[in-house]
Symmetry: C2
Subunit: 202 residues, 2 copies
């Protein structure tokens, strides 16, 4: 166990020297995200994150108001590279590519189990629900809305679309299959989701 | 409290006589669904359902393998009238009407809280997850698939659509807003969902 200190600043660590605050913050976020993916919310504690990041609990509490807030910021940080939104100028290709990566993250890594348990726990834990929306789903929505708005500006989508509803019909449809697995969550499925919406069913 | 009996058959009840099995079954399902809506899964017990329905626990166990199975069959029974699928011959009108009723059920009654907690609990309770899929979401999917296939047969939707994916993009999109309420679950939202899919975004 790394020793936890009651100091407001992270301790001087032998052989490393004092790290800049930005680096400490980044290491805490990575430690939090990786701990969450490894152990789920059940095994997630501020103490373990502090130990893995070589930071003090006081530092963590200075930056994050709760365990849930830290967990969600950490989750956003570690999944962000896998969920990067390509911008090739072709909205159909970009949506499909991003959704395929999203589905692989959910089905090939522990992220699917972890996020489904975060959503589950959010139904009875209002603080976790707020952290989920403010630190994960809200910011992820904003990224997708921006990509859709760019496609509107390029004339690839109608000017009168409601981007928020499109998010529920693409990523929301995937969460639906993750949480209620009546039907499989596959690459073929996301290709169909995009095709249904772009071409229309008529 | 109604007296519980260990008999395999429901007791003769003063003034009512022995009820036909079909009636007993219907009364158990209604009692189960109403108890679930009133108290959620936390307050749901076989004992209470037996008492409300005036049936024995043995009768219930003869027909349902678990508490979850009874709860989900009861839920399906009591919400079915509100979720009836109209068949006017106009798929856009029928989908919109059914989805508006679905959203009102979720937002104006306790069904929204109850179903979100059932989905939540299913993430860590495999038996409940199976009961949910086999006794609620699977049968509800079948009803919607049938309505979509009829619309294909009438030439209102393309012959090559995948009805299962449409379900995720309509009802799944609503569950997404129920479970992760970044954006409101309204009549306007479902009208937009149907319009996005039918017309397409391009």
């Amino acid at each position: 166990m790394t020793q936890l200190t009651p100091d407001a600043e992270p301790p001087l660590r032998r052989g490393r020297g004092r790290r800049p605050a930005g680096q400490v913050r980044a290491e805490i976020l990575n430690a939090a995200g990786n701990l969450l993916l490894a152990e789920g919310m059940t095994g997630f504690t501020i103490e373990k994150v502090a130990a893995h990041a070589g930071a003090s609990r006081m530092t963590i509490y200075k930056w994050w108001p709760s365990k849930g807030a830290l967990a969600l910021d950490g989750y956003f940080t570690v999944v962000a590279p896998a969920l990067a939104f390509p911008d090739t100028g072709d909205i159909v290709a970009d949506l499909t590519s991003q959704l395929v990566s999203f589905v692989h993250l959910l089905t090939d890594t522990s992220a699917g189990r972890v996020v489904s348990q975060l959503i589950a726990q959010s139904q009875t834990d209002p603080d976790l629900a707020t952290a989920f929306r403010e630190r994960y789903s809200g910011p992820r929505r904003a990224i997708s809305v921006e990509a859709l708005n760019k496609a509107v500006a390029r004339g690839q989508l109608r000017a009168d679309i409601d981007p928020e509803s499109v998010i529920d019909q693409l990523w929301g449809a995937c969460y639906h299959r993750l949480l209620i697995p009546d039907q499989p969550l596959t690459e073929e499925f996301v290709v169909t989701l995009v095709d249904n919406l772009i071409r229309g069913l008529r």
